[in-house]
């Protein structure tokens, strides 16, 4: 494999990073909303968000990308493949992160809510100043774990036809007929992105477990 082929892979890598970043950031924002709705105490809202989460956790990401891609076109929104994938990843991430953070919010001791109420804090302040800082901290290892899952998930954009790292690998592999070399390198590039995150997540988990004792 020559220099040009490798540069082409790096170009794909750039899009993988971009997709992951967009999916994660917008997924975090939407996921926060999902988590808050899921713990709002309003029964129908809680049920609806639980259904939303179950839908995304019970179906393959690939199908979610297909449905969003063709569904958006159907309602008249013309989008590039990458934008459609970004929307799909955002929805996917919002459901998973929403569920992770719901767990975090519920893991904060009840007394924290009661104390905040007794101090006459508003809902917004109670969440922003008391509950969420603790909940997000508890959920940090799981959140990082999901980020790794999301980065790996962006590879499915290649099946929808968007040229990120994996599809770049496919293209090069078809050109130079060295699939093992190409996919070996592609795998390594993913590994270099994900492994530090995994290690960091495991480190946090150990640290939290130790401090909980």
């Amino acid at each position: 494999m020559g220099r040009d082929e490798f540069l082409f892979l790096l170009l794909g890598l750039k899009w993988t990073v971009a997709l992951s970043a967009i999916g994660f950031v917008s997924g975090c924002l939407a996921g926060l909303a999902i988590a808050l709705l899921r713990t709002s105490g309003i029964r129908p809202v809680e049920r609806a968000t639980a259904g939303y989460i179950a839908l995304f956790q019970g179906t393959p990401l690939l199908m979610q990308l297909f449905v969003v891609y063709y569904g958006l076109a159907l309602i008249g929104i013309k989008m590039d493949a990458w934008a459609a994938v970004a929307v799909g990843l955002t929805l996917h991430a919002s459901a998973y992160l929403g569920e992770i953070w719901r767990g975090g919010i519920e893991a904060v001791p009840r007394g924290q809510t009661e104390a905040s109420k007794a101090l006459a804090l508003s809902y917004a302040s109670r969440m922003k100043d008391v509950i969420l800082p603790q909940a997000l901290r508890i959920s940090l290892p799981a959140t990082i774990g999901f980020l790794v899952q999301l980065i790996k998930g962006t590879s499915l954009a290649s099946i929808v036809g968007f040229t990120e790292l994996t599809r770049a690998g496919n293209i090069i592999s078809n050109q130079i007929f060295q699939p093992l070399t190409v996919f070996g390198i592609v795998g390594m590039l993913y590994f270099i992105m994900c492994c530090p995150l995994t290690i960091y997540g495991a480190y946090l988990e150990r640290k939290f477990a130790a401090s909980a004792r």
């Binding site: 019970g58 309602i75 008249g76 093992l180 993913y190």
Partner: protein
Amino acid sequence: MNYTLDFTPVVEGLPSLLTACLGTFALAICGMLLATVIGIGGVVLRQSKIAPLRWLIISFVELIRNTPFLVQIFFIYFALPLTGIRLDPTPTAIIALGINGGAYAIEIIRGGVQSIPKGQMEAGLALGLHKGQVFRLIILKPALKAIFPSLTSQFVLLTLTTSIASAISAYELTSVSQRIESDSFRSFEVYFTVTIFYLVISWLMMRLFALFSARYFAYPVK
């Protein structure tokens, strides 16, 4: 915005879609069985006295967990023929799913084994059982019970991952739906319906695991 939904191709394709659901089921179950074998075997090797064996397992787990399944399945698809093993896409997909799920299973089951009090091992040894017997007869079942919820969600995820096996044209739901889609151009209708099918499949899978758990792990704990 004058699109009218037309599910006719979906209805016509229903028999092949439903049969393909069985393909997905079979792929998932075989993948899980292989993953369980790899998981248990990996845990045993992971605790081996021989350091290189432990490192091998640790590297395997991290390599698999930090790369996408799509890249793994491509790699295995192209690598297997070079080792002289010629397999159809579907068995290839089972191997890929087993390897992928196995790496996660090793970590999950290891957590379970570590959660078993040391006294259980000691009581087994004091009764004259060998280490292997103690692991098999005393540690394994309570360890699996302890981590069964995590294992269930990991295996539901494995079930959903089977859809990626369509990339090498294994026989399962997604590849069959892609064929119907490309014949009919009713993309949204096909994929929407198939998404519902997957929802049902993962729900059934969870029920299956709950039933298994209720039968196999029925003993009471404090």
